[in-house]
Each structure stands twice: as C-alpha cells, then as structure tokens.
Amino acid sequence: MELNHLIQSLPFSNLAAIASLVFCLPILVFLILLFFGHLIKKSDWIATIGMGLNFVLCAYLFSQIWFNNQVIHWRFDWIHLAGSQSITLGLKLDKLSSLLLVSVTFISTLVHLFSQDYMHDDKQYVRYFAYLNVFTTSMLGIVMADNLLLIFVFWELVGLTSYLLIGFWYQKDTAIRASKKAFLLNKIGDIGFLAGLMIIWTMCGTFDLEALYQLYTTSHIIDGNWVLTYTVSGLVVVKSIPMIWLTVLGLGIFAACVGKSAQFPLQIWLPDAMEGPTPVSALIHAATMVAAGVYLLARVFPLLDYHVLIVVAITGAISALMGAYAATSQYDIKKILAYSTISQLGYMVMAMGVGAFKASLFHLFTHAFFKAGLFLSVGAVIHAMHHLQHTLEHKGLDLHFDPQNVHLMGGLRKALPFTFVIYCVTAWAAMGLPLSTGFVSKDAILAGTLAWADAMSNQGYVWAYIIPFIAFFTAFFTAFYMGRQLFVVFFGEFKLPKVYTNAKDAFKYIHDIEWKMKIPLLLLACMSIFIIFTPNPFDGEAGWLYQGISSVPSAVPNVLINSTELSELTHHYHWIALGLSLLVAGAGVGAAYLKYGRNVANNQIASNYQSNPGLMKRLSINNFYLDYLYKNYATSLIIKVADSIAQFDNKVIDKAINGIGVFYVIVSHIVAWKDKYIVDGFVNTVVFSVSKIGTSSAKIQGGKVQLYFAWMLIGVMGLLIWFVW
C-alpha cells in the first residue's frame, strides 16, 4: 500500500468552501468583538446572528451530506519534509461530523440568545461573546479536522477557551482556581494524546485518519509484534513494534478523552467548572466540549484494540456510577447537573467501550440537547433567584444567600411556570422515562452493555456482567437525583423565608424569564421529545440517526468480539434492557418522590442542617473524597518528588557542576602559566634574537663611509683569498 497515495491532496470543492466559511465566521466575529466590540452597540446581536447564520450554513451542509450520502474531503500538503512523508492537513465532513456541526452551532446559537439576557448586567459582556465565538470555532475545528494532529491542535484550543470561560469572572477566587484546575487536569490527559500521536507517527508516518484506517486494516500480529507494511514512494517500509504499544497508543488517546470528557479519575474539574456562567456550562460543560472526548473516541474507535476497549468500558462505567451517586446529595443546583454530566458522559464512554458505537453517538446527541435544556432552565432559576436578591436589596433587605443552593428553593413551579415545564420535559429525558429521547438512547446503550457482557462471557470473561449491572444501577441513581432536583426546586414550599425569616413575602417577587431566554428553552425542550430522533418511542434503531450513521468495523488486527455478533445480541437484548431500564428509572423517581416529594419542607430543612451525615452521604457530597485524595496524596506526592528532585539538584548536580567549574579554573591556571612562560617565552626569545640580529646587522649600514670601506676591503680580501686558494 502506497502511503503517498493514501495521503494525496484532494481538491477543494464548493461544499468545502462553505465548510471553511463555517469555520472562519466565528473567528471573524471573535476578532470584530475583540477589537471593535466596545465601539459597537449591538455587539451581542452580531455574535448571535453570526452564529445563527453559521447554523443555517451547517444545516445546509448537513442536508447535502446526509441526504446525498456524500463525504466532503479536502486535503493538502502542509509540511513536506525531505526524505520523509509529508504532513497533510484537511477538512473532512461525513454524516457524523456534519450532524455534530449542526448540533454545536444550534446549541451555540441558543446559548448566545439566552446569554443576551442572562449576562446583560455584566461589565465584560462583549468579551463573553468573543470567547463564546472562539470556543465555537475550535469545537468546529475538532469536528471538521481530518487528521489527529489537527484535532490535537483544536483540542488544546478548546481547552484554552474552556479555561477562559470558566475563569470568566476572574474577580472570583474560586473561579480562577476552578479554571486552573480544569486546565491542568485536561493537560494530564493531553500528554497521553501526545504520546499516542508520537507512536502513530513512528509507526504509520501519517496522522490522517482515513490513511490510518487503511494502514491498520493491512497490519498483522506476528509473534506478538504489531507489524505494518507499506511503501513510501515505492520503497517498502516494514515497521514492527511489540503489541503492547498498540494498546499504549489507544490508552494514550483515551487519556485525552478522559481529561476532556471528565471521566474517572480526572473528572473532578467538571463540578468546579460550574464557577463559569451558566450558559457556558450549558454549551461547553454539558453539550459540546465534554462530548468532544466521545467524538474523538468515535473517530479513533476502529484503531482501538480490545484491551483498550475494556479499559474504556470500565472507566466509563465507574465514572457513570460515581457521577450519578455524587449527584444524589449535592445542594448546588448546578453541581447536580455537573455530576449528572459526568455520569452521562460515562454512559457514552462505556457504550464506546462495549462496542455500542451508534448508541453512544445517539446518546451524545440526545444528551447534548436535553442537558443544554436542563442547564439553561436551571440558569433561568438562578437568574430568577439573582433577581430576587437584587429586588430584596432594593427593598432594604440585604440577604447574602447563595442563589444556587437548592435548599433555599422550592415551590418554584408557581413562580416560574414556563421554566418548570421546560425543566420537566428535559429532566424527563435525563431520567430516561418513556417518550423522551434520553429513554431511547439510554435503552440502546443498556442493551449494548448486556449484549457485550453476554459476548464477553462466551469468551470466558464472566466478570463483564458487572458493566451492565453498574449501568442499570446508574440509571436508577440518574432518575433519583433528577427527581430529587425536580421535587426540591419546583415542588413543596419556598424555603428561603424559613431560613431568612425577615424575607417573608419574597416569593411574590420572583418573576419568570424574558422571551430571549424562553426561545432557547422551548427549542431545546422540543429536541428532547422522541419524535425528533425516532418515530418509535421504544426503539431508537428505527430512527433516522441510527439508520444514517454507519458503524465502522474495527481495523486493529486483534478483535475479541465480532461486531455482527454484537449487533445481533443487542437486538436480542433490546426488550429486556427496555423493561429493566423502565423499572429502575421508575424506581428511582419513586424513591426520589418518597424521600423529597412528600412532606418536602420539614425533611429538607432537617437534612440541610443535619450535623452528622452518614458515611455514604458524605462520600456522595464530597464526590468520594477524590479532591481530598488528590490534594493530600497525589499533589503532595508530586510536591515531595519535586522537593527531592530540587534537593538532588542542589546537592548533587550543583555540587558536580561547581566541582567541574573548580577543576576547569585550576586547569586554566595551569594552561595560562604554560602560555605565559613556555609559548610566550618561545615567541619572545625568537623576537629577542631577531631584534638582536637586526640591531647588530643594522650597525653594518651605519652610514659611516670608512666602515663601508673597511667591509669592502674585507670582502675584496676574502674574494682574493678565495680565488687564490
């Protein structure tokens, strides 16, 4: 297989031009806002309309690609190294990426619209929209890139913009710390990505995904070595490497996904990232950026060998369970959703791991919409609470209550009826209850895990059944914490006056949101109804998304489970999974109702001030003490190692360098002595003797005539003697 043929340049088409425009438009808006934002009055509308236009363009691209079944691929040589393969760059849009383009720009547009009201009083209003745009660009870059190197570049850019937006309120100390934490934890994962890229370059000599699939499919396992054979400009290249590196490569790339998608053990940045503005949380930390990890997994899915996939499945399952469990007792309204996001992303990652490729992507899209909807409706609640705080301040009541604390809410369905309806619809989807998109996609994932466990146990891995077990357990918790949030926030009595007794009639000052916030909520709620994705509310496979996206067969030479076998088994387990998931979701909501729905007021106030919560509850509130563990063990270990290295540096390396310095000084003194007395002495002697000869011979020509005459005489005598002799 000729590598140069695989990565040859591909022509620029009209659709590629539109795609480039889609990519460049947010950059343009970003630059305009950055440099002229303070001059323009309606800068928010520029950003919103720009993004809306982008959405329209994406929708056009999507329709072209999806219905005409075509792929846009434009590729060109970027770097041409002599004696090596060239590095290509390119833009590739297939069905999956065009669908993601649409959803990213759609949610981004809605978040822009929502932010116009939400962020209206902020001083840094323009900067906020500029950041949103640069984020969208980098996200579109990840989606459009046709090779891993380019994905890596945008991956880092997304990390940067996430950092900027989490720390948007840079006056808040917690926000700064949260942004740094997110950035650093993401970097840990990205190191894995970089390592994976190095191995790929060494083995394949290209980063182009399409070429990589081709190369992988022709590779073999020979004597425990992974062997690739291809030709570069006619010369045969055989690369062989121990098989473990195939796994290491996959794990490296997966590490990047773990960082970005907030999976165990790097998930602790996501709850802290809630320090950013809520619309940002909706766009970045729920719908798009965190989904980039899953998208990357989908892109490299055929390149992962089964060891990696098992790790992926287990990591996903652990994150799903931990996130869901931690979400059950958070009291910050946004943190509940943050942990929920970790849990849902865990679902997707787990689905990738078990080979439920389509189910994972299906859930990626359904989750993007319902989670964005949830975040925005929660944002509406926070907005209302903020307004209440301001109103009370105007009335002379200076209460510094936390507007995000669910224990101060309750009964808001009467004050915020619109938000309540939207929240119910999206939470319905999050819980995985019938007639919602979440139900269909979650069911597909659950069926996938059951099928995988069955197939694995046929291969002798009976422990694999723990994965579906965890998945169902998580489904229970998911329904439970969503139910808890619903009941605590929207049902019962308004609890603020119970904590702050002087705010008795605060409830009547709470107003529902403006139309600019309502439209995004309404659209996102609509996107959470099953009919958008599938005509059959109980079977996602009938839907257009399932039909459209084709799963890619694994390209690695060692495959454990046949994908056709897996899909047959998934079909077989569909109804079982459906029944079970209905059961656990119902049980979860029921448990939440029993605990929080009835008699909410007393129960909540009591638990709010409960002095000594049990171990399980403390584990949940503190997210299994992961932060504590990292701070006290991992970080302190790193600091200790750094200290000892610094000590080693001071004591050994510096000493050695100083010793070498002293040695050289001594040597240089010796050399200087030798130079002065031997080399210079020799030269001086020569000079001295030459000058002596000079002066003595100069005397001969002293200008004294008699002397000349005497010399002449001696000469003549000499000649005479010589002649006569």
């Binding site: 020509q701 200008g703 004294k704 005539v705």
Partner: protein, 102 residues
Amino acid sequence: MKITLELFLLIGAILFCLGLYIIITKKNVIMVLMGIELILNASNVNLLAFSKFDPFRIQGQMFSIFIIVIAAAEAAVALAIVLRVYELYKTVDLDKINQLKD
C-alpha cells in the same frame, strides 16, 4: 748594496698599507684624502719599479706621470667636495657625516 725590485715593492706595499690605515682610521676628511694620495703614490712606486724592465718605452713612468696629473685633478675635485661637505655639515668629521644610514 744593490737596490732590488723587492725593496721597491716593499716600499710600495708599506705606502699602500699606510694609506689604507689612514683611510680607515682617520676622522678628518682631509686626512682620508691624504691616505688616498699615499695609495696612489704606492701604485706609482710599483709602476716605476716595474718600468725598469721596459727601458725603451718607459710605459710605467708615463703611467705614473698620468697618475700624478690625475691625482692632482682628483685632489682638487675632492677638496672642492670637502668644502661643500663642510658648508653643509659644518664639520669634516667623517663619523658625524653619517646620513647614508638613513
């Protein structure tokens, strides 16, 4: 005692040597000129001595007369030069007239 050719030649040699000695050692230019005269006369003595073997044509004696005449002319020219030198350097000390070294 018969005066032999060797005695003539000896006197000539002595004169020559004296002339040489004077030329090399004396500081005064006039003295040096005198030394030159001595050397010329030494050659004259030699010519006269050898002309004894040519009694008919007395070429040697003729030569001597020419030499005496030329020597007189030479002395005149040399003394004129000495005068010029003295005008220029205000000295006739040869050790001080050493501009040739430059």
